[in-house]
């Protein structure tokens, strides 16, 4: 009786092994077809292979069908333009097809890298369910996780739960919005497995990074009619490089009242820094921009960093300018771990770019402007 059982078990074990081997072989085939470095391929587990295959297929169906690459390249060749790479186009008269294509590839690759570097961010394509269909490979520089580790996963696994509702709202797309390429612009917190020195750490010790995501909706091609969002994601920096004109910095308490403003505000807005101390930014701005400022303020309260978008600041004595502020919450005093419960005063640091000249300088919109009417 037992021997019989043994035999049956052995047979089923063999059968199972064979099945597994066959399956592994197929997985291997699939893996090799993926556009990955061999070293990466070797370490993929089965679910990842499928996940990446899905991404690959989705990327192709969603994003193909754009302008013919060769057409643009040949146009450029004809006009003798110089691209950024400095590798001037050879005078290719169509005979050297293969070479041309290689050069194009290299240049396209350089160009793309350059875009991403300039934009200081990575590209993310999101399905309406939040699946990260595609990520540019420089995502590892910002999140510490590689493209292969992330592609195909869902964004909600990597973002701060408090931001999920906002993300969901942004992912919601009506057919009309998709068709006309509706824009999206929001800030969210994402996990980053980068250590302070820029090395990749384990996801378990991930910290939150604030990302500014901007992009558009995109309609896709068959087979499955899914629409997606194409976004560039830039981490908001905490240090700013300032240049001399048309920007000024300011510090605010958490309620957005000025606590400090640098001298450059005077030629731009007319106020002296002292005049601004204690004033709320909400009273200095055009009423129609209240929403914009509120959103900015809330982003700061919850996510600690924000980009305001364009709004109007009233100029002393009349008129207004369009500005955009990049802000972050910073501790006024270095937090000390030994006294975690002690109140650490926080403040908001803002860099404000002035975008326009003074518009309608004689128009006085606020009470404050009438007071300073003659003292400009």
């Amino acid at each position: 009786m037992t021997a019989d059982k043994e035999k049956r078990r052995a047979i089923s074990r063999e059968a199972a092994r064979r099945r597994r081997r066959v399956e592994s072989d197929v997985f291997g085939d699939l893996c090799r077809l993926l556009p990955l470095q061999p070293s990466v391929q070797a370490h993929l587990d089965k679910p990842s292979v499928i996940r990446l295959t899905l991404s690959y297929m989705r990327t192709h169906t969603l994003l193909k069908g754009k302008m013919e690459p060769k057409a643009e390249a040949s146009h450029a060749v004809k006009h003798g333009e110089v691209t950024e790479g400095g590798e001037g186009r050879q005078e290719c008269d169509g005979g050297c097809e293969e070479e041309e294509r290689d050069t194009e590839d290299v240049e396209a690759s350089e160009e793309t890298n350059m875009y991403l570097r300039i934009l200081e961010g990575f590209l993310m394509v999101l399905s309406t369910e939040g699946d990260m269909i595609f990520l540019s490979d420089n995502v590892s520089k910002y999140m510490g996780l590689t493209q292969t580790e992330l592609m195909g996963h869902n964004i909600f696994e990597f973002t701060h739960p408090c931001d999920h509702d906002e993300i969901r709202n942004n992912l919601r797309l009506t057919a009309e919005e998709v068709w006309c390429g509706a824009k999206r612009d929001f800030v969210m917190r994402i996990k980053s497995a980068l250590t302070h020195r820029g090395r990749s750490a384990n996801l378990k010790s991930a910290t939150w990074k604030v990302l500014h995501c901007q992009g558009r909706a995109k309609v896709c091609v068959a087979p499955s009619s899914v629409s997606c969002l194409v976004l560039t994601c830039q981490p908001l920096p905490l240090s700013h490089t300032l240049l001399s004109t048309h920007t000024f910095t300011s510090q605010h308490s958490m309620d957005m009242k000025f606590t400090y403003c640098d001298q450059r505000v005077t030629p731009l807005l007319g106020y002296s820094p002292e005049e601004l101390l204690g004033r709320s930014i909400y009273s200095l701005c055009h009423t129609l921009d209240t929403n914009c400022l509120t959103k900015n303020h809330l982003n700061l309260c919850f996510k600690s960093q924000s980009v305001s978008g364009q709004y109007r600041m009233l100029v002393r004595g009349g008129g207004y300018v369009w500005v955009e502020s990049h802000s972050a919450v910073i501790p006024s005093v270095r937090p000390s771990k030994s006294r975690p419960g002690a109140h650490q005063p926080l403040c908001i640091l803002s860099v404000t770019y002035v975008l326009s000249g003074v518009e309608q300088p004689s128009l006085q919109l606020s009470l404050d402007q009438t007071v300073h009417r003659h003292s400009r």
Partner: protein
Amino acid sequence: MSARNAAAGGGDRAGGERAEDVLVEENQCSSMSLTSLMTPSSAAGMSLNMEIPRKRKGSMDSQDRKTASTPDADMEDDQNGSDEDDQHVKIKCFREPHSQIEKRRRDKMNNLIDKLSAMIPTCNPMSRKLDKLTVLRMAVQHLKSLKGSGSSFSEANYKPSFLPDEELKHVVLKAADGFLFVVGCDRGKMVFVSESVTKILNYSRAELIGQSLFDYIHPKDMGKVKEQLSASELYPRERLIDAKTGLQVQADLPVGAARLCSGARRSFFCRMKYNKISVKVEEKEFQASTSKKKESQKYCTVHCTGYMRSWPTSQLGAVGEGESDKQDSSHFSCLVAVGRVHSHSSPQVNGEVRVKPTEFITRYAMDGKFTFVDQRATTILGYLPQELLGTSCYEYFHQDDLPQLADRHRKVLRSKEKIETNCYKFKTKHGSFVTLQSQWFSFVNPWTKEVEYIVSTNTVISHDHCRTSRSGNKSEQSSNSKTSEEDGKKSLPVIPGISTTPGSMIYAGSIGTQIANELLDFNRMNSSPSSGSVSPFSLPQDKCQQTHSQISNNVPNGEAADMEMPGKSSSEEEPQGATFSGGESLMGENSQLDLDSVVGPGLSNLSNDEAAMAVIMSLLETDTNLGEDVGFDEMHWSL
């Protein structure tokens, strides 16, 4: 392993019988898995026959592993696993029965296989469900076919990527809503512009390439842009803000003799011309379009970010010829940047697009004095903004309307909602009255929760529309006095006493002040002990109950903060986050954004201040690498 299976099978077996009962256990596993697979959560329409091979494989695996592991270890795990029903599934701990882990893995794999079969065209039409191996094989075929159609993956030096770079470039530009341009630093000559500029500025590439950038920039921004392109040594030093201290620090740039160091970042906004006329492709028409350009001076704000780059001119082709005034004959300095148009309304499109022409906006201080008047009010009311600013709105309201408006005023100061007024008459400069209807809401500072001002959106109503609501107004008056008595608030003594004499106008102005004072008194009476100093996240005063409960939930300082801080920043598992229900309102028109709903279960156990602190600290602790390594070869802003 089998011991675990045994445990999962529902027995509390001590372990021991392994070898003999393997088959039995397997069957138990099978049956258990089958039932779970029949649930709706697994893919529907699965045929039983298909499942058994998969499952058995799974359990075979576990059995194989069992033979490798030592009996003792199994025993131990079994005892731990059998009575654990921890629902913290994010952390896979050994306390969980192994079959649960296996099951989850199988489900995940099945899920993936289903998704895969949905994506493969040949799989789709199949009516019955395909098994895993077939799906995989078809995926292989599909990938091969995808690769075959034009993508060049076969090059040895080709860097494999999921998306060919050409297409990626298009995607990036589409997402960024931008165009790439390369501008020479000396004269601002545009040596390269990407095709996407057409969509953005509505100029063709041919029109722009070779032209000076300054021809396309708003005159007032030229100085700004010149400075950005400046290559001279006297270039103002870049100043950095150190986020640690909030102070500005000077950075010593290694500026070369005659050229900028490559990689220096530039970021600026400028207004660029936007061509209203349809793009003329042929170059000979360019002259005509130049003159037309002068008429259509539309500008849009472009955010340009990029970096400086210099190339040896020997590498450059046609461009180098025209440049005669290069300081350094062997290098061509330029700015390589991406110009992005903002998704927000551009300056010249007044941002008031949605607002109808018979509408204007005003701001009141809490006591009803005008602090902001939109310029459109002038055409409607006749007053210039400065004539209204500082005066009380009550001076302009018709007497009949004073009660209802006073009532609304009171309401709006206590409510987060938008309050609609009925139609009322507003005295214009020339003495006549215009009928308005307004929507008021009190704007509350998101941090302090104090009312900063009242925003009023005022619409002109034609007389006809207003009839019905005016009758409603009369009944309002009677109910007004009732409600004010019911509330026990100080009823407005002025209303009954208002007479039609001119002197009453001055009296009217004090209505607003009175209402504002009422609110202040009310707040003072109900102020909770914790609001002695303005603390963040403090609840609005009229929600007294919640305030009290918050106080009672105060946890001693040190503990709470400790508990929250490491938890939030370090662990992978979601912290007890609160739902950010403000998301919707941010997108929409709603003006009041409520922090209360955000302070969720986890945070509300702390006092308000600690909660705020914890959230922010966790975010800030991440970034201590601030401004230290300004590596210009890294070409990105220091983080």
